[in-house]
Symmetry: C2
Subunit: 223 residues, 2 copies
């Protein structure tokens, strides 16, 4: 993977791209109805994420995802045609959050260690709160080839952002000169990506505690 | 997961347990033939690990694993009856290596930061060199229920060992007093477990460079 500058897209541009299919349907509907539909869409993603966490992507059925929401399977199909489409929308949703945070952090003029801290905290919260500790990053192989390419491209965009912040910390002297931004970003993102493998929603640590502890540990190792 | 002391087994005891089925067959064979059979067994595991990395557990076929070794599928069945049995043997093989290192490290009287460093380096080498960067820890769901229980129990044994070493570092004052050994061990093991997701055998970093960089970063964060 190269550390060169990616073509940057704005959060608004991404959201428009992400919602292109529902947007086509939305043109026929008044704004209030569309807002309700978007809310429902997000509720479906959250319910699906919970089911994927409990049962795995292959184990969770569309019936169960619908049942948790008190919906009929047929109504759910209005929003998503296949289970894979739901999984992809979960990826897009969490990547939207992450890339929004990256954009905000990079425009900020805080020192690089604080920027990195913010990115790690946001990443942990995205995994644990937005999508209930779902192993999104482990279900990649269930995506279609085209969706996989899109998800990987946007994840790479986030990874490169993390790497740029680490490089900035090395350049500024905030982080040690021997730090390899590429290897360290792999370690750091791996630590966070692994959380769904051990996280227990009824366990002793809150998502805030996990986010704070991970951020402190993973930033401190760079000094 | 509790941090209490597990029932400890010796490396010799583990190896005996691991090889119980082949050992039963071995009684009928002279020692030289048995040594050759063990070597073949390990060659099969390494070939299988490479195929699992390239094609995934579900994508790799027993035919391909045999073909790489210049074996017939039927000969391979002499050693392993199913592909799942090969996967389980890969797990056992790498867990044997890890638990041997843990035993050696814990008997040693080095300071805790050096012990932790040794454990991380050994863990990286086990994933990258012994099993060619195979996502062993990601293929757990392909194991039978009984094999999954055994693999998880032994992985937990290693995880608890890592946690004990971190706790010792906190007790000795080598590591910062606010360090939570449980959360930190999750972060640290996650960083290493994630390596197969990005590792490229023809990439620029050798396994030694990755091991050294990860160990330096992940130990330094605890000070």
């Amino acid at each position: 993977m190269s550390a060169d500058q990616p073509k940057r897209r704005t959060a608004a541009g991404r959201t428009a791209a992400r919602t292109s299919v529902p947007a086509a349907r939305a043109r026929k509907r008044p704004r209030a109805k569309q807002a309700a539909a978007n809310l429902t869409r997000i509720e479906i993603l959250k319910s699906a994420a919970g089911a994927f966490r409990r049962l795995g992507f292959h184990g969770a059925t569309v019936e169960e995802i619908a049942a948790v929401l008190g919906m009929k399977k047929g109504n759910l199909y209005y929003y998503f045609k296949t289970k894979e489409e739901i999984l992809f929308a979960c990826h897009q949703y969490s990547l939207d959050r992450l890339l929004e945070v990256l954009e905000k952090v990079e425009q900020d003029d805080r020192p690089p260690d604080q920027k990195l801290r913010q990115l790690i905290v946001a990443f942990v919260h995205t995994i644990l709160d937005d999508l209930h500790g779902t192993a999104l990053f482990l279900d990649l192989e269930a995506l279609t080839a085209s969706h996989l390419r899109q998800a990987i491209a946007r994840r790479d965009e986030f990874d490169r952002g993390v790497r740029r912040v680490i490089q900035q910390g090395v350049d500024w002297g905030t982080f040690a000169p021997h730090v390899d931004p590429k290897l360290v970003s792999f370690a750091l993102l791996g630590a966070v990506n692994w959380i769904p493998r051990w996280y227990n929603p009824s366990g002793p640590s809150s998502s805030q505690e996990i986010a704070d502890h991970f951020a402190a540990y993973l930033v401190n190792g760079l000094r």
